[in-house]
């Protein structure tokens, strides 16, 4: 038994390396998006200007939730995500070029430029997201129903923010999924804020996994944005769902390094908060754990970093090089014939 396995006997190093790669890719993707989004928006910030207009909700700091869950999924499992969807999309294996082109409003985008960053749909890997809080949960319930009806062991995972756990759709969906014993997992990413309102001002319970008992389903809590703890909680939940043992609610304490959206003045939080969170960066943590386990060298990690960045750079280049749709294409795709 290696030293690493002595420390973490239930976790495969290969899978942790996969997670590390996804997390690095997500982080670099979002960093590049900060730059692209800022283009054309200075000296005066106008949300409608630049190559990437509109709202932009980035997931920097929230990588463990996506990587720790998706490492257990295949392309046959369904994922629905909310308005902050890039980390889920990337870890689910979305076509990165088409995703980026969509965010740039290009014809080659997943939605031919009709959706944008909050509305990414890639049926190839069963990924979708949407801009209405909590609305993706019922869609995952429906996917879980379809899986069960087709006799497949595929699961459906709905990612939401902690603010969404106070919406009616959350409660209706969990009751229904529990009632029908569906292979559904709801991952609540608690990044402490619903835009500006802190969780303690919006939520009647300490953490939303406690609400699991209200529906008679399993609940799990992941502290400190910890990738390995997320891996383990997700593994249990996915196994439970695949084995026909019903839904799970996982809440993960995660960190939002950036504003709710780009351009958020963040007057609602202490200036010292983000530097404090960044000091607990989950990517650096996982990297150190991998090095400590002596399963991977610094050079190998750098190779992973380089490979991830190259993919992201290619995706951005593809998006920038792509054409805008013809204006009259706005009239297409209302109905399929």
């Amino acid at each position: 038994m290696t030293k690493f396995e002595e420390k973490q006997p239930s976790v495969s190093v290969d899978k942790l390396m996969w997670m590390y790669e996804q997390m690095v890719k997500i982080r670099y993707y979002e960093d590049q998006m900060v730059e692209a989004y800022t283009e054309g928006k200075s000296p005066v910030f106008n949300i409608g200007e630049g190559p990437v207009p509109g709202e932009m909700h980035l997931a920097t700091g929230q990588e463990p939730a996506a990587a720790g869950m998706m490492v257990h999924l295949t392309k046959d499992d369904t994922v629905t995500a909310p308005h902050r969807p890039h980390h889920h999309a990337i870890a689910k294996g979305i076509d990165l070029k088409k995703m980026t082109a969509e965010i740039f409003g290009k014809e080659s985008g997943l939605g031919k430029g009709k959706g944008g960053h909050m509305h990414l749909f890639d049926p190839e890997v069963k990924f979708s997201c949407g801009g209405i809080v909590a609305a993706g949960i019922p869609h995952a319930v429906g996917a879980a129903m379809a899986n069960k009806m087709k006799g497949k062991d595929w699961v459906a995972v709905a990612f939401i923010g902690e603010g969404a756990a106070n919406a009616g759709a959350f409660h209706e969906s969990l009751n229904l999924a529990a009632l029908w014993n569906l292979p559904l997992i709801v991952v609540v990413e608690d990044n402490s804020y619903g835009i500006s309102v802190p969780k303690k001002s919006s939520t009647s319970v300490e953490s939303n996994d406690l609400r699991a008992s209200a529906y008679g389903v399993a609940g799990a809590y992941v502290k400190d944005n910890d990738p390995i703890a997320m891996y383990k909680a997700s593994e249990e939940a996915v196994n439970r769902a695949r084995n026909g043992q019903g839904p799970t609610i996982i809440e993960i304490e995660t960190f939002r390094f950036l504003g709710h959206f780009q351009g958020d003045p963040e007057l609602y939080r202490d200036k010292q908060e983000v530097p404090g969170l960044r000091a607990r960066d989950p990517i650096m943590k996982l990297r150190q754990q991998l090095l400590d386990a002596e399963q991977i060298t610094e050079t190998e990690l750098e190779d992973i970093d380089t490979r991830a960045k190259q993919q992201v750079d290619e995706a951005y280049q593809f998006a920038r090089d792509s054409d805008y749709p013809k204006p009259e294409a706005a009239l297409d795709d209302v109905f399929t014939s």
Binding site: V141, G142, M145, A146, M149, S173, N175
Partner: protein, 340 residues
């Protein structure tokens, strides 16, 4: 010579038969909603399905419209063909986000990448003192928003044929059925709630209006119950020598402009009758289409009959006052003929 006796069905049985035949044809078709199982749907639209197909494909849901309509969307995205029932259209308020932000928009926002082959069927209409929260049609509310096909059949034949088309369509279809046209034993017994329905499967298109009666003097466009009232009015007008052409709109979105315009070009007069609110409604839309595309064909100003802009009242006398009916249609047409 012997004439074969025509097979007659009520509206609800025609709908249920279409669903049953499609469920037999395609394993991906299933039904979900409140009281659609053993009860067979509050308005009988799923009668007999539970017995035939069992609880795995005929799912009684909790009172959770957001969850089960949303689940239908999620299942449709996975290739299933769900039929979800919203018991009364008036209940749309608790689930409209799923209907218009998701069901109607996902196919477009995905650039056609995601298809949602689903039917949202819902009961509409008043006239039986169920008051403001259980009597609306809300035709225009749904027809207004792009991304949904919206149909409102008025005969048992069309209820079956259009339901079959709706289930086979790859787009989300809002299928509105009129409570009083279901032929239920506990409501007014109306002749037009029973009609000829062939047993074998057939389709009726989702984008074509139907000329129910030909005439040369005036075009009356009706929707569902109002079409039947228009037919009654036309019979009475005929006794006075006025020949009305009656169009059953059937498809609210997309709307069959051609059939309306062709008729107006023949009769040069138009009356539109709607059981929805007047302002910003179906009558306004049809009047606008004719004004834009056939204004100079008209020999008299267009007349609109609809619910004056008030919630539907409870008491008989009040409800009768706001609902259009044969008398009001006859009066409007006669007035129009006199003016010319």
């Amino acid at each position: 010579m012997e004439t074969a006796k025509k097979r007659m069905l009520t509206g609800n049985k025609a709908m249920a038969e279409a669903i049953a035949q499609e469920m037999e044809n395609d394993q991906n078709v299933f039904v979900l909603g409140e009281d659609i199982g053993k009860y067979g749907g509050i308005f009988g639209s799923t009668q007999g399905l539970m017995e035939k197909f069992g609880p795995e494909r005929v799912l009684d849901t909790p009172i959770s419209e957001t969850a089960f309509i949303g689940a239908a969307i999620g299942a449709a995205a996975e290739g299933m063909r769900p039929i979800a029932e919203l018991m009364f259209v008036d209940f749309f308020g608790v689930c409209m986000d799923q209907i218009y932000n998701h069901m109607a928009k996902i196919p477009y926002m995905s650039g056609g990448n995601v298809r949602l082959p689903m039917v949202l069927m819902t009961s509409v209409g008043g006239g039986y003192s169920d008051a403001a929260q259980h009597s609306q049609t809300l035709y225009a509310t749904f027809a207004h928003m792009p991304g949904m096909k919206v149909v409102a059949p008025s005969t048992p034949y069309d209820l079956k044929g259009m339901m079959t088309s709706a289930i086979r369509d790859d787009n989300p279809v809002v299928f509105m059925f009129h409570k009083s046209l279901q032929g239920l034993g506990w409501m007014d017994q109306l002749d037009y709630a029973v009609g000829h329905v062939p047993e074998e499967s057939y389709t009726v298109p989702l984008d074509k209006a139907n000329v129910m009666r030909e005439g040369k003097d005036v075009t009356i466009v009706g929707i569902q119950m109002m079409t039947h009232y228009a037919m009654e009015a036309a019979e009475r007008l005929a006794q006075d020598g006025i020949e009305a052409e009656v169009i059953d709109l059937r498809s609210l979105a997309p709307i069959d402009k051609d059939t309306i315009l062709k008729s107006v070009k023949k009769t040069h007069r138009l009356v539109v009758v709607d059981e929805d609110y007047r302002s910003y409604g179906m009558t306004a839309e049809i009047a606008a289409i004719v004004s834009e595309e056939a204004l100079y064909e008209l020999e008299a100003p267009i007349k609109r009959l609809a619910i004056p802009d008030v919630p539907i009242p409870y008491s008989h006398v009040l409800e009768d006052f706001v609902l259009p009916g044969p008398d009001k249609i006859v009066e409007a047409v006669k007035q129009m003929m006199d003016e010319a």
